[in-house]
Symmetry: C2
Subunit: 375 residues, 2 copies
């Protein structure tokens, strides 16, 4: 059964001859075969998914492909951030090559951001670039990771340090599937939704403050929030595909967030990406206030909303303790936003007024972290 | 000591804001520090090389960098085609990240095509793309693999099946270092030099027939042959960077050649890449004659020249035996030049008249191979 087409939204990512559509709405997994078949020249697909998503949606997805005469193979990987590794990259590449996916065929990521990042990377390097379709199943993946072409895996030196830019040819965001997402993961994805408001959409942030319960519940408000988020990301990506400038704004909260993820060894029992981003966004607002850029009230407003939603907003909410400020600083310095030893940070002048600062003194960051770390 | 600048040639690869120079001539390793320092904003370099090249040139190269205030680390890998593997890709990425190579710093490949392909791939994925400098030390790498941005590793499913396009920022081809190359490797590289004549430069092929001894001996004729080859490759790459059309001509002899390399398990004791290309080019001419596209005399002329130089020209010269035609065909079909199941081949109407044929019947190829395979 397919939902009425009226509920469906389309966001276009404008990248010249590599432009693509993001379809957002209910019933897109059952409709996937038709949407893919109408766009793809080839008739072969390799589907990569994880052990949580497979029992819920893989059969439906494969059946939808089969109904349109598309031959598909699938590979199920362990769920979790640790799957973004060379080890699993090798197995995805191997499946894709074994399935003889050729230039007009495609590789599909059916899952959250972990599966999307890993599979996109494999698609980007198999035969030096194969077609790639994102079927994001987590809120985070639907509003963020599936759009924009950043792919990659983690290294012992830091998160996402190995990868390529490889744009998908299509994104199918089935909003129904978010109903099986754990509340914790839904909240984590919501942190990225709120992020778009905090970057440069104060009205959207205010709308979220009023309507977040409806977004969590499903239906029109959810579709609206996801479409607004995708549009925001699509605009930034179209303007700056390779992150030479404004795309860096999307990293609001992420410099601190990634350091916290590294410090907790990517252990999702302690911290998932969106939670790190939530704490990171609060820290970014507080640090901006400390630098006399923003009013402390903005930080308090952000903190209040994220706390109301149920997200962590301070480092002392991370179970298991954290390393000292200097070690966190070291993780920050190894992050991607470093040029010639200077620190690039996303700071803010208030809700919806973020900007790229590329001369943040390391000593200020360390002093700030010392203040904020649990004693 | 540096050779007079008059002997040095520069070929520019025209790719808009990713254009770069190939410097060709004697004394470029001792001069590397200066050439790099004048072009690079950063002051950190990771040098990747192999166990044959390291004892010969690594100290000189590191000293040249140091003299210009460039901080460098090095990694020495085993020599040979098997080094183009995920295992070694992981160690190169790890060295690059451990050295904290940032956006303005660079990764250097000091070696033959194996080191160049592997290191270029690592540079292409470390931090989603790092600066990359090729210092090719084999003839093959100087005239072919170091130019054009194709990078990659091998898979059990076939050669170069995993990789990215990642253009270097500079190529330094020191023609002196070819004096330590084994005669066999020099000949193998020469196959690629001859290839440019066979593709579309009949005059260059005729010049090589007369002057090949001088090219092997060194001096002006060698520099001339390398510069002509680099210019030929630069022209093709500038016209078709991603191999959507004419760049495929560079694969003359390679479809057969790669199948032979796969069939001999990339065992360089039996066959090196250029030898496979030499046999492959002769086969491509013979197959074209069989298809009534070219005169058999062209095939004989090509065979005569390559044999005179000392290259293998027929499959029965490969020690250790070959699998049956069907198995070779299978390796061909898994090669990159396959679209929707149809075979793309580079065929020829005669010396210097190659073209892309994308509808070659598989049955003809199998029948031809059966004829040519040693009984
Ligand atoms: N490429 C980018 O631009 C980008 C942007 C942001 C984040 N990321 C990356 O995304 C990753 C985080 O993504 P994520 O939060 O989706 O993580 P995830 O892929 O691990 O998914 C979270 C959990 O939810 C499960 N899950 C997914 N969909 C489900 C569903 N419909 N029902 C039930 N369970 C489901 C997964 O199995 C997993 O256990 C991180 O690795 C982060 O670095 C990438
Ligand atoms: N990227 C491309 O466009 C492209 C094009 C053609 C070939 N290739 C690849 O290039 C590889 C073959 O390159 P190759 O023939 O240079 O192989 P190679 O790198 O293995 O070098 C051949 C041998 O010569 C040694 N050597 C290199 N320079 C030397 C020197 N100056 N003195 C003494 N010994 C030296 C090496 O250690 C090695 O043992 C293959 O993997 C092939 O697929 C890539
Ligand atoms: Zn994020
Ligand atoms: Zn070659």
């Amino acid at each position: 059964m397919t939902a009425p087409a009226t509920a469906r939204r389309t966001v276009r990512v404008d990248l010249g001859d590599r432009s693509y559509d993001i379809l957002i709405g209910p019933g897109l997994i059952p409709a996937a075969g038709r949407e893919i078949a109408s766009r793809l020249k080839g008739r072969k697909i390799a589907v990569i998914t994880d052990a949580h998503v497979a029992p819920l949606y893989l059969d439906d997805f494969m059946a939808a492909l089969k109904a349109e005469g598309i031959e598909a193979v699938s590979l199920v990987l362990p769920a979790g951030e640790k799957t973004k590794s060379f080890e699993h990259l090798i197995s995805v590449c191997d499946s894709v090559l074994a399935a003889r996916i050729e230039r007009n065929d495609a590789v599909v990521a059916l899952g959250g951001g972990v599966i999307g990042d890993l599979t996109g990377f494999a698609a980007g390097i198999a035969r030096r670039g194969s077609r790639f379709i994102q079927v994001p199943t987590s809120l985070l993946a639907q509003v963020d990771s599936s759009v924009g072409g950043k792919t990659g895996i983690n290294s012992s030196h830091g998160k996402n340090l190995i990868g390529v830019f490889h744009q998908p040819d299509l994104v199918l965001a089935d909003t129904d599937v978010l109903d099986t997402l754990s509340p914790r993961e839904f909240r984590a994805g919501y942190a990225e939704v709120a992020k778009y408001g905090l970057i440069d959409k104060p009205d959207f942030f205010a709308w979220l403050e009023k309507n977040w319960r409806a977004v969590f519940a499903g239906g029109e408000a959810r579709i609206e929030a996801i479409a607004t988020s995708c549009q925001a990301k699509a605009d930034v990506v179209a303007a700056d595909e390779r992150e030479n400038g404004q795309r860096a704004l999307l990293n609001l909260g992420h410099t601190f967030g990634h350091a916290l993820e590294a410090a907790t060894h990517y252990d999702s029992a302690r911290l998932v990406h969106g939670e790190g981003v939530s704490i990171g966004m609060v820290l970014a607002h507080q640090f901006s206030a400390r630098m006399n850029l923003a009013s402390p009230d903005d930080g308090k407003r952000v903190e209040a909303h994220l706390r109301e939603v149920g997200l962590p907003t301070a480092m002392d909410q991370i179970p298991g303790g954290l390393p000292p400020a200097e070690v966190l600083m070291d993780a920050i310095a190894q992050d991607k936003k470093v040029k010639g030893g200077k620190l690039t940070f996303i700071l803010t002048r208030g809700v919806g007024q973020s900007f790229v600062a590329d001369d943040v003194p390391q000593s200020e960051v360390v002093a700030f972290l010392k203040e904020k770390l649990p004693k």
